[in-house]
Amino acid sequence: MVTIKLFGSLRLKTGFKEMQAYASSVSEACALLARATGHDKKEFKNCLFVINGKQGKYSSALAEGDELVLMSPSGGG
């Protein structure tokens, strides 16, 4: 089981915040999110990925207990 969290404007667009799921890779997590929200997988694929506080890739593997954060692009202030 991994924890998947979404931040940024995509969270407001999809209404998705967080879930616990079985996923062995970031790509699998993106597919799960696409199914859960009805949004295109590409939108999640274009997020930045952070796994347990460190930057990850679309191809990164996930292990039991990991926290995966997806962030859509952010700008300045």
């Binding site: 940024g8 969270r11 506080g53 890739k57 962030m71 300045g76 202030g77």
Partner: protein, 674 residues
């Protein structure tokens, strides 16, 4: 004095509030061409009038309020105005850019700017109507908070005219009246917050300035301007940052990104991550508290939030406020931040400096340096602290002087998080070292925007290695200069985020985005060449960079990207040239030792700001001496040889007063060496 250029009203007024004398300030077309407007124009005016002996709280100090030529032309996000003065907080010149509608109404009143000198004996409200200045007594408004003061102004204008009068307003609150060193000027809900402009206005006994009128801005090429504006609005609305992230989340949306990157200042910059960030981030603000998105006049971005405090719709907090009054003081109560943000605006105080000064005080107590009763995470009585600061009561009287002053009295300079006396925003620079350089060298003190805002590339929007110093000094120079001129033209700096073509932002894993990010650290020499010879860029950049073309259409001046860029360089160097007069040297372009000497991640030396290394390259790229003084050659190259102070500088160089080497160690030069 009229002008041949479009975009300007052709008139600047000088108002002496001691004698109540109003004259036209001489401002020529040559000066318009060289300094454009806004902060650059204000710097020229301050430079011509302030001497090294001028004190911030003195009749000789000027409060200069300026607009840019794009204001009133229908260009997107262009209703801005600028306030500059000799800052009581930093003791060097400061500029504060503000949205709202005052800039637009000042132009409706027929003016490009106001130069205010002297000190009134009694509280004043200045009303500018179609170029005429009316001096009104403001004794009955003195003491009012900024909301009631603005309401009173509308009521008085309506009573005098028999109907409501559309107007732009500037007011100060009790903090400005009591010369809190970081007090702000408020315009509607927008804030000219930085550098203590409100304290200077308060010292001059000016409670408010209003502007109204029915004049129109003449545009040199109206059809072309209209067509460009149409495309520009469309582009900004389609860009992932200006058309999606900022409208949806405002600047508050950055909290989560900064947290993930280790860039969210936490517990007075001890750490870069705050465990409770999800309770105080932009997503929670949007989902639970935001009622409606608001924006300044003519702005398609609409980055402002509206929230409810005590059943009343008020402006929501920006990222800096969320960061510094959240994790910065270990507070996870978002409702409290909404309330404090409102209270600080009502009192007329800069939230960044207030929050950072409070965090310093909490740490000073924790370390046993100052027994002030404040502690991280203990926030029940904070509203009372704001009032104590604004009215200079009890410990508030000392807190009102800011973190630099406090550290000089109580010690702990290494954790008084300011640069040149101006407190830093909520971005932790040890995990974005280019931003660290920007904070340190910024002309107005610790400001992320005036510092070139490298963090946009170092993790916020792009993925350039945040820990490498390579390429950052040259990139910083370039960004500072472009942002300088965007601001001088009268436009919001947030439009600059759209300089990056949408695919670079929305496709972070694409090969071209990765290639761009990898290239930045190695293209320093190329950028240096462009920085040295901006004239090479004698073209306009279509779609993503409309500012130079817009200036051309609005004013009729010959303008392209290179000229625009060079005007930014001129302005940035001019500000530094003036600050040199007030003693600013390399040693002052510093950061607290916590940020330069203590790695954020224990054992990882890369997670501190290698400041001195970057400064050496930065000064070289700027054409300043290694002691941070612009050389006569650089001044001349940038068209500044006509300044009265140019000759003095040449003579000082001849006498050997300015050496091409550092005059002393920076405060932050400890571990890495000078």
């Amino acid at each position: 004095m009229s002008t041949k250029y479009g975009g300007y009203m052709g008139k600047v007024l000088k108002i002496n509030v001691s004698t109540r004398e109003v004259t036209e300030y001489p401002w020529s077309d040559e000066e318009r061409r060289l300094f454009i407007g806004g902060k650059s124009m204000a710097a020229k005016i301050l430079g011509d009038n302030l001497t090294s002996q001028t004190k911030p709280f003195s009749a000789e100090n000027l409060l200069v309020i300026t607009t840019g030529p794009l204001t009133g032309t229908g260009a997107p996000s262009s209703s801005r105005f600028n306030v500059s003065t000799l800052s009581p907080q930093t003791k060097i010149i400061t500029s504060s850019n503000c949205g709202g509608n005052f800039g637009y109404y000042l132009k409706k009143a027929g003016l490009d700017g106001l130069v205010i000198e002297g000190r009134s004996e009694t509280p004043l409200w200045l009303h500018i109507r179609n170029g005429e200045v009316v001096f009104n007594d403001a004794a009955d408004m003195w003491g009012l908070k900024t909301g009631p003061a603005q309401k009173a102004l509308d009521e008085r204008l309506a009573a005098e005219n028999g109907k409501p009068v559309k107007n732009g307003k500037l007011v100060i609150g009790p903090a400005g009246e009591n010369q809190v060193l970081y007090s702000a000027i408020i315009s509607n809900e927008r804030v000219a917050g930085r550098g203590g402009t409100g304290a200077v206005m308060g010292w001059k006994n000016i409670k408010a300035i209003t502007a109204s009128g029915n004049q129109q801005v003449r545009v040199a090429e109206p059809e072309k301007m209209k067509a460009l504006n149409k495309k520009w609005f469309k582009y900004l609305r389609s860009h992932p940052l200006t058309g999606d992230q900022l409208p949806r989340l405002g600047t508050a949306g950055l909290v989560s990104t900064m947290q993930m990157n280790g860039q969210l200042s936490t517990k007075n910059y001890n750490y870069g991550r705050y465990d409770d960030f999800e309770l105080v981030n932009g997503e929670t603000l949007a989902e639970k508290y935001n009622i409606v998105n608001k924006g300044c006049l003519t702005c398609p971005i609409k980055c402002a939030r509206t929230v409810e405090v005590d059943g009343k719709p008020v402006k929501g907090p920006e990222l800096e406020t969320l960061g510094l009054l959240g994790g910065g003081i270990l507070n996870n109560d978002l409702e409290a931040i909404l309330k404090w943000n409102y209270e600080l605006d009502e009192l007329g105080m800069d939230t960044i400096s207030t929050a950072s000064t409070l965090a310093y005080a909490m740490e000073a107590r924790e370390k046993g340096l100052w027994d002030n009763g404040l502690a991280f995470g203990e926030t029940e009585d904070i509203s009372k602290i704001w009032e104590d600061i604004a009215y200079r009561r009890g410990i508030g009287d000392e807190l009102a002087n800011g973190s630099r002053w406090l550290a000089e009295k109580y010690g702990g300079k290494e954790f008084a998080i300011n640069a040149k006396g101006l407190e830093l925003a909520a971005y932790e620079p040890r995990r974005a070292v280019g931003l660290g350089l920007g904070y340190a060298v910024s002309n107005r003190g610790g400001c992320h925007l005036n510092g070139g805002y490298m963090i946009l590339l170092e993790g916020l929007s792009m993925n350039v290695d945040p820990q490498t110093p390579h390429g950052k000094p040259d990139m910083t120079v370039m960004f500072q200069d472009l942002m300088e001129m965007v601001s001088a033209a009268g436009q919001c700096l947030f439009t600059t985020y759209a300089f990056f073509p949408p695919p670079l932002i929305s496709k972070p894993h694409a090969w071209y985005t990765r290639a761009f990010c990898k290239a930045v650290p190695v293209i320093g020499p190329v950028l240096r060449l462009l920085n040295k010879f901006p004239g090479m860029l004698c073209f306009n950049i279509p779609v993503v960079f409309n500012q130079s073309k817009a200036l051309k259409y609005a004013t009729g001046m010959p303008m392209n990207f290179g000229k625009f860029f060079k005007a930014g360089k001129r302005s940035y160097t001019l500000e530094r040239h003036i600050n040199t007069r007030f003693g600013i040297r390399r040693k002052d372009d510093s950061l607290p030792a916590r940020l330069t000497d203590v790695p954020q991640i224990e054992g990882d030396e890369k997670t501190r700001v290698p400041l001195e290394r970057m400064k050496t390259v930065y000064y070289h790229a700027r054409g300043w001496t290694q002691d941070a003084v612009p050389t006569p050659r650089t001044l001349k190259k940038l068209g500044l040889a006509g300044l009265a102070s140019y000759k003095e500088t040449c003579e000082a160089f001849r006498r050997g007063e300015f050496q091409d080497k550092p005059a002393g160690r920076s405060a932050g030069a400890g571990k890495e060496g000078a």
